[in-house]
Amino acid sequence: MELPLAFNDQLFIQLTVNGVTLGSLYALIALGYTMVYGILKLLNFAHGDVYMIGAFIGYGVLSGLGGPLSPDLALAPLILLMFLAAMLGSGLLGVAIERFAYRPLRDAPRLAPLITALGVSFFLQNSVLLLFGAQFRTYNSFVLGSPTPELFEPGPLIDPVFKIRGVNIQLIQLMVLLVTVALCVVLTLFVARTRVGKAMRATAYDREGAMMMGIDVDRVIASTFFISSVLAGAAGVMFGLLFSQVFHFMGFLAGLKGFTAAVVGGIGSIPGAMLGGLLVGLTEAYASGYLGGRWGDLTVFGVLILVLLVRPSGLLGSKAIQKV
């Protein structure tokens, strides 16, 4: 008798590769949720939309520089510029959102900032819908950088870099993974070694205490928002390059998944977010590969609910001990 799902190592490797790339995106988004939650105990529902705006900024730079078919720049500086613009733009947007929407509510009841976050998310999403319309915008990463795009000759981004047992690893997939790892390393070092990182940890531990020690808490919170939004912006451009299209609604589902990753890993914990991102990406890839695409999202949500019920504080989260 044959098993219904004969183990096919090529498919498995392909799904693993997909899962790791997807997981890298989720990890970057999850880091933003986790950092903001760690410092403000706020679920920043608007984070997914900051990511979406990052993707649109990348698209804006791309089309501003001649569009994907005839870019004015060589591929490497073009992509670098897209990343920089998206990261900076998203970062500033994150700071503005914090300053404008969340800061007035810092001492309000818990419900108020949550509702505000929903409002900001809705506002951003529909603003983009108003400005850009509902159609998909394409990065055209298939032909991006190709010498003859009009012949639909694939560009270098999807060139195979190396093979594992017959499975091609494309340049873009490798790039997403490397950029994510680099960003994670920088972030970890930043939080562990710099003065601002120290101040962040202190503020997350005890905001009032940090204030009394002379830490400018407002500035620390603003820089937390800046960093988390920078990561989201980078993830947005990566999504555009990886899947070639961006649209106003992309932030919702990606935000939800990134959020799942943050929660599964233990919200408030930075290594937890990275682990959670990988886990969610792999779960989604395997579930859609082996069970069919429609099961991907549902399996991710199911895993989240299971993890939360068994370990309410996530895999790497610390148990909250409340003082009465």
Binding site: Y37, K41, L43, A96, F100, A101, P104, L105, A108, P109, R110, L111, A112, P113, L114, I115, T116, L118, G119, V120, S121, F122, F123, L124, Q125, N126, S127, L129, L130, L131, F252, L256, F259, T260, V263, G293, R294, W295, D297, L298, F301, G302, L304, I305, L308, L309, P312, V324
Partner: protein, 481 residues
């Protein structure tokens, strides 16, 4: 440090204890509202509301009754259910709309051609309500272990999982997809009691009104009961409530079950009135709408929910794409002027602001007209009553494709700047901002009213939370510091 008149310090125990007395001594609009609430007892309020609402079918045509009457009542019902969970018990349930969906889909499957089952409403509605209450109970079980934000997360995912299940998973049962996928279930029976079918809009409206009145009455008694007080204690401080031997977990489950049952009821009526259900009806936008209703009215207040639903649904329908834009325009400028007049203190400054904005517009329009005529060459969409005046007042360019988008971004920046300014600078900056808002309305919102209403919704939620987190009729929290 003893003050001569023994005034307690703000925030200490005595001050909190005397809070009610101080509120009684207030004057002005707030006090008027308070006395109205005291001298017009809730039964009279309810009777007045019912009487007014019952006259609606006699002077509205079918379409208006559907858009304004039936939808408002539907939102009231949904808001009432959410109010039990969020308002009374303080549990942040972001999966609430899934219960609405479960109710609607259950009704659809039990009374349509989808599986050929045609049960009468008297059997379906109670069954569906019990069913949704049980699902609510199950979801509520997670609240035993998960507190605050984590509960919000799990419920959010529950809501999302429902949409994915209905839309994409759509398991095959008895030879066809259970939920019909993206197309949903169509041709649902109208409500049927003893062989008598509610088919006309008027009958449906009156039935819905009856349901709302029953639920309102039941919830009023519930909120005044021991259980209601226990819920409020739980909402304010679960730990203290537990220490006072209030059965915290049981009350949470109860709130979930009752809220879900009401959502299930709303779902049944929704499915029968629309005669079709599809996954799009149960997504995030509707959840946000229900939250906006409950929050706008004031969390925990029944009158607030009714008021919130009326305000939100009426403005919503005004902004519906099929509605003539001139109606929405009247509403927009009306609200703008009212906001300036009511919120800017002292009052004369508000009035002066309105005048200043008018003058600013006339001058700006004249200058632009003189310098670059093409920038004022555009004409407004669907003039209506206000149209001609506005055409001469607002700068509406023709043939400058991106002007609307630029103006919109400029408006967002301007609003942020205004909130950062203080004193007279702020008042002065308001003038061009309001004018800019009018231009954005005329050049980009009017063309996409469906998008504009969601943007305004988001802005409303943000603004309301910043200015008045307790909502219009809610009471602010008094805390011991």
């Amino acid at each position: 440090m003893d003050a001569p008149d023994q005034q307690p310090r703000v925030g200490v125990d005595d001050w909190v204890a005397q809070h009610e007395d101080r509120v009684d001594q207030r004057t002005g609009f707030a006090a008027l509202r308070r006395r109205l609430g005291r001298y017009v007892p809730p039964p009279v309020q309810l009777a007045l509301f019912t009487l007014l609402a019952a006259t609606l079918p006699f002077w509205m045509d079918r379409g208006d009754l559907f858009a304004y009457g039936i939808f408002t009542l539907m939102y009231i019902l949904l808001g009432l259910g959410l109010n039990v969970v969020v308002g009374y018990a303080g549990l942040l349930d972001l999966g609430y709309v899934a219960f609405f969906g479960i109710g609607a889909y259950s009704y659809a499957l039990l009374s349509s051609d989808h599986y050929g089952i045609h049960w009468p409403a008297l059997a379906t509605i109670p069954l569906v309500m019990v069913g949704t209450a049980l699902v609510g109970l199950l979801l509520g079980l997670t609240s035993r272990r998960l507190l605050g934000d984590y509960l919000a997360i799990v419920t959010l995912f529950f809501g999302q999982a429902f949409v994915v299940f209905v839309n994409a998973v759509n398991p095959i049962v008895h030879g066809q997809g259970l939920t019909g996928g993206p197309n949903g279930v169509a041709d649902i029976d109208p409500l049927r009691f003893f062989g008598y079918e509610l088919t006309t809009r008027r009958q449906q409206y009156l039935f819905l009104l009856g349901a709302v009145v029953v639920v309102l009455t039941a919830l009023h008694f519930l909120s005044e009961s021991r259980t209601g007080r226990a819920w409020r204690a739980l909402r304010e401080d679960p730990l203290a409530a537990g220490a006072m031997s209030i059965p915290v977990h049981r009350l949470k489950l109860m709130a979930f079950a009752i809220g879900s049952a009401i959502a299930g009821l709303a779902g049944c009526i929704f499915a029968s009135v629309l005669t079709a259900v599809s996954p799009g009806n149960f997504g995030l936008p509707i959840l946000i709408t229900i939250y906006a209703i409950v929050i706008l009215g004031g969390i925990g207040s029944l009158t607030g929910v009714v008021l919130g639903a009326i305000v939100i649904n009426v403005s919503f329908q005004f902004l519906a794409p099929e509605n003539p834009q001139s109606n929405a325009r009247v509403l927009f400028y009306g609200v703008l002027v009212l906001l300036l007049l009511l919120t800017v203190r002292p009052r004369w400054v508000g009035a002066a602001l309105v005048a200043a904005v008018l003058a600013f517009g006339i001058v700006t329009q004249a200058i632009v007209e003189a310098l670059a005529p093409s920038w004022t060459g555009g004409s407004i969409v669907q003039g209506g009553r206000l149209g001609g005046v506005i055409d001469d007042w607002a700068v509406i360019p023709s043939g400058h494709g991106n002007f609307g988008n630029v103006a919109y971004v400029a408006l967002v920046v301007a609003v942020i700047v205004v909130t950062r300014l203080h004193g007279w600078w702020q008042t002065a900056a308001l003038v061009p901002t309001v004018y800019l808002a009018a231009i954005v309305w005329e050049t980009s919102f009017v063309e996409q009213p469906a998008v504009a209403r969601w943007i305004l919704f988001g802005a409303l939620l943000i603004g309301l939370m910043t200015v008045r987190p307790q909502g219009l009729l809610g009471t602010p929290r008094v805390e011991i510091v």
